[in-house]
Symmetry: none
Subunit: 131 residues, 4 copies
C-alpha cells in the first residue's frame, strides 16, 4: 500500500491519509482482516508525526473502516464497511450539489460529468479482481 501525500495541499494530512486508505479498500488492495502498519511505523514511513497518523486511524475506526485489535494491531474491518444509510446519502448529495452547481456555471454538461463518474468508478473497480 503506497501512500501519496501532498504537503502543500489545503486538505489536512490526516484526511489525505484517510482518503488513501479508503481508496485502498475501494480498490480491494486492502481487504478485510488485512493488517495496517502501526501508527509509529506508518508515521515513520511517510515522514509525518505519529499523532497525525493516529488521528486518521481513530476516525477510520470510528467510521467503521478499521478495527484496532488488541493482539493483531490495526486491521481492515473484517465484516466490511457498513452500507450507506440515509444520513450518508443525504450528506453525499449535499457534497455533490455545490460541485454540480459549479460545473453547470462552467459549462460542463451532465453527460461530461457523468463520464467522469464512470471513469472514476472504473478506476476503482478495474484493479479489484486479483491480488
Amino acid at each position: 500500500m503506497y501512500i501519496q501525500l501532498d504537503f502543500e495541499s489545503e486538505i489536512p494530512i490526516y484526511t489525505q491519509l484517510k482518503q488513501q486508505i479508503i481508496a485502498g479498500i475501494a480498490k480491494e488492495e486492502l481487504r478485510p482482516n488485512d493488517a495496517l502498519p502501526s501508527v509509529r511505523s506508518m508515521a515513520k514511513d511517510i515522514g509525518i508525526n505519529l499523532h497525525t497518523v493516529n488521528k486518521a486511524y481513530q476516525q477510520l475506526k470510528q467510521e467503521g473502516y478499521i478495527l484496532i485489535h488488541r493482539q493483531k494491531g490495526v486491521v481492515i474491518h473484517p465484516d466490511g464497511v457498513e452500507p450507506a444509510d440515509d444520513a450518508y446519502r443525504s450528506t453525499l448529495k449535499s457534497t455533490l450539489r455545490p460541485l454540480i452547481a459549479e460545473s453547470i456555471c462552467k459549462n460542463i454538461s451532465k453527460e461530461e460529468f457523468a463520464g467522469y463518474v464512470n471513469t472514476l468508478f472504473a478506476e476503482f473497480k478495474k484493479e479489484g479482481n486479483d491480488k
Copy 2:
C-alpha cells in the same frame, strides 16, 4: 435571493455563501448583470461579519463569477462564467475521487451515484427554463 447558512456546519461561512451564490447562478436565478447586495448590506441581511462577506465576494470575483465596480456595486459577471479548463476538470476529478471511493466502500452502486448526479443536475435546470 435567499441565503441559507448553517452556522454549525464545518464548512466555513464564506464558503457556504459562495456556494449559494454559485447555485443561484447555476439555477439562473441570478443572471449576468444582476446586482448583488453590497458587502455591508449582505452582511447585515444575513447577520454575519463584514469580512466574511468580503472574503466570499473576493473569491467569487477572482474565480470570474462576479464583478466588483466601485460605483455600480457588485454584479454577476456580464459575460457569464469562463468555461472550465483542464485544470478545473482535473481538480473536479480529484474532488470526486474520494467521494466515489467512500461510496464504493459503502455499497453505493455506480448507477445509484449517477442517479444522484442526474437528480442534482435536474434540480438546477428545472427552474431556469430559458435563457
Copy 3:
C-alpha cells in the same frame, strides 16, 4: 459550572471532564443553548492542557451533547441529547453486568443496589427545578 478533577484517578482527565459536563446537563445546571467556556479558557481555569479539553469537547460533540458553533462558540446542544437507542441500552447493560456480578459476590442485595440507583437518580433530579 464547577469542574472537579482528580488528577490521581486512573480515569483519564478528558473522560472526567466529559462526565462532569454530562452530569451538569443531567442536573439541568447546563441547559440547551448554554455556552461552555472556550477550550483555552476552560483549560486555563482547571489547569490542564487545551488539547485535553479539546478531546473532551470533540467527544461530547460527536456524542451529540454539545455543538461547536461558528459564531457562538461551544454550546449545549439546543435540541437536547438524542434519546438512547438499542445499541446504547445494550452497552449500558454490558457495563452494568460486571458491576452487579461483583456486588452479588460481595453480598450486596438487589434491594441495596436499587437503593443506590434511586439515590443517584434523585441526586440529579432534585436540583433541576430552578436556576
Copy 4:
C-alpha cells in the same frame, strides 16, 4: 467454565477475564474450593499471553476472590468473598453516577434503569438456585 473474550473491545483482556471469573462466582458456577486452570493452561486454552492471565489472577487474589497455592494450584476462595465495605460502596456509587447521568440525558427513566438492574440480578441468580 467458558471464557468469552472480545479482543476488539477497549476493555483490557485481563479485566475481561477477571469479570468473567467474578461472573462465574456470582452465578455459583464456580464455588468455594473449585479449582481454576493454572495460569499456563488457562493462557493456552483461550489463546492469550501468560502475563495477561497472571495479571488477572493476581488481582483476583488481591481482591479476595481466589487463593493461589503453590501446590494445590488456583482455587476459588474457600471462605467466600469478603462482603462489601464502605470503600467499596463508595466506589460503586462513583462508578454508577456517570452511567446514570448519561442515562438521564438520554431519556432513560429511573424505572427503566431499575428494570435493567432487576433483569441482571435475575440473570445471575437463576442459575444458582441453592448453595
